[in-house]
Amino acid sequence: MSHHFDTPTAREDPRINVCDFYLFGGSPGATVMAMTVNPDAGMSAPETFRDEGLYAFRFDLNGDAREELAFKVRFGPVEHAAGDERHHVQPFQVLRSTGLHALKGVQGEFVASSLTGASLTGESGIKVFAGLAPDLFAGDAQALGRFRTALAKEKRFAAEVWENRKNFFARRNVTAIVLEVPTRMIGSEGSRVHAWATASLFGHAPEVQVSRWGLPLITNVLLPDEALREIYNRTGPAEDREKLGAALAQYTSIVSDLAGSTPNPSEYGRQVADRLCPIMLPYQLGSDASFDFAGFNGRSLADDVMDVIITLATNFALADGVAPDKTRIRTEFPYFGAPFTAQEQVGNPPVSKPTPKTEGRP
C-alpha cells in the first residue's frame, strides 16, 4: 500500500484511494489485473467499496499514452449478508469498454457481476473477486519518512535510515479488486501494452478521477510536492511529460547529487523522467511479469518494488530490508491469500493519517 492518503479526496475517503496495482499472467491464456484500495482496511479504513466510485483498469494498446480499452468496476450499496448482520456484502459488475467509452463513462460490454467476498467465474471465462485481502506491499514507511525528512530539512542523503528494516505494512489488510480475463480480451499474446488503474467519483455529479496508479511509489518517493501529487492523480499518462517531467527530473537530480552517485546529476534527472513518463506499467502479454532492476514488465504480487524505486530515485543501491509476505500469495485465483485475522493483527496500531502538506524540496 504504497500510495497512502495522498490526494485530498482520497484522504477523506480511503475507499477511493488506489494503494497498488498489479498486472501479470494468470492461468494459461489469461491475464490478471489487480488494484487495492482502503489502506489498513478493517482498522483504519472501511472494508467496503464506494458505491459512487468507478474503479478502472486502463490499457494503452497503441503507445499513445491514452486508453483504448478499460475494465470498469462499479459497486452497489452495502447490504447485510444473509443471516449475518455483522457481515456486509456489496454487489458489483464489470464492464469492458473500448474506444471513446474507455475514456469516460460506464458504457461498455457487460462481462461479469458478483458479490464481494467471493470469487466467481463468468461465462466468458473471466474471473472476478472483490473484497478484503492481505496487503502484499512491503516497505519501511518509517525509514522512508526519515529519509525524506533528511533530504528536505537537512539537505542530506541519509542512507543509514534504511537499516531500520521494519515492514510497516506487515499483517495489515486492504480491499482488492482482482480480474482474470482471457488475454485475447486485451490483445494478442506477445503484444506489449501499457496499463494503469484509477478510482473516480461517478454518480450524481460528472465523473471526476481522484486517484491514479501506474508505476509504484511515484507520489510517495518521487513527487514530494502535494500540488504535483494532485496533478498526477487527477490527470492521465498523456500529460505526464508536460506536467510532471521537469519536476521528476529536478527532484532526482538533487537527490542523486546529494548521494554523490553520478557525475552528472542533471543528466541523471532527465534519464529518470524519460524512463518514467508517461507513467504506465508496461507488460508483454503472456510473459512472466517482473518489476525489478533489469526492467519493468508488469508486476507480480511478490515483486519487491520499494527497493527498485528508491534505488532508481537516487542512483544508489538502497534496500529497505523487507519484502512481500509470500506466504500470503496463492498460486490460483484470486492470488491474494486469506486476509489477516483480528488475532493475527494484535499489536498492529491503526495507521494515522498524515497531515496534508507539501514536504518541501531537498
Partner: protein, 124 residues
C-alpha cells in the same frame, strides 16, 4: 553486465568471444542463465532458474544500445550508452543479484568533457 558473468566462467567467455550478437540468444541463453543462477549463491530468489532465464533473455544479445535523442548513460534509470565515468559496478551487481548491491562505485574512469573524453596518461 555480460562481461561480469564471463569473468566467472572462462569456458563461457571463450564461447562468447567467438559469437556474433545475432547468435547470442540461441547459443548463449542457457549457459548464461546457469551462470546467473549460480551467482545467486543459493538464495532461493536470486538462484531460481525462471528468474535466471528471464534475465538472460533480457540481457541478450550482448549489445550496448544507444539512442542519442534520449539522455545518455549507464545508470539505474537507463542503459542508454555508457560514459567513461559511469559507476557501473553497483548497477551490474544489482541487476545480476536481483537485489540492491553497493558494489564498488569508485570503479570508473576519470573523464573530461571534451575529446577524447577519457583522461589520458599525459593529462593525468
Amino acid at each position: 553486465v555480460i562481461s561480469h558473468l564471463l569473468t566467472e566462467d572462462w569456458q563461457l567467455a571463450g564461447l562468447h568471444g567467438h559469437l556474433e550478437p545475432a547468435t547470442d540468444r540461441p547459443l548463449l541463453s542457457s549457459a548464461l542463465a546457469r551462470q546467473i543462477a549460480k551467482l545467486g549463491g543459493g538464495d532461493p530468489c536470486a538462484s531460481s532458474l525462471p528468474r535466471a532465464d528471464r534475465l538472460a533473455a533480457r540481457l541478450l544479445p550482448d549489445i550496448l544500445e544507444f539512442n542519442p535523442s534520449r539522455p545518455g548513460g549507464f545508470t539505474f534509470a537507463a542503459m542508454n550508452g555508457r560514459k567513461p565515468d559511469d559507476a557501473i559496478d553497483p548497477i551490474v551487481r544489482t541487476i545480476l543479484a536481483g537485489a540492491p548491491r553497493r558494489g564498488d562505485a569508485t570503479k570508473r574512469y576519470a573523464a573530461r568533457d571534451q575529446f577524447p573524453y577519457f583522461v589520458t596518461i599525459d593529462a593525468a
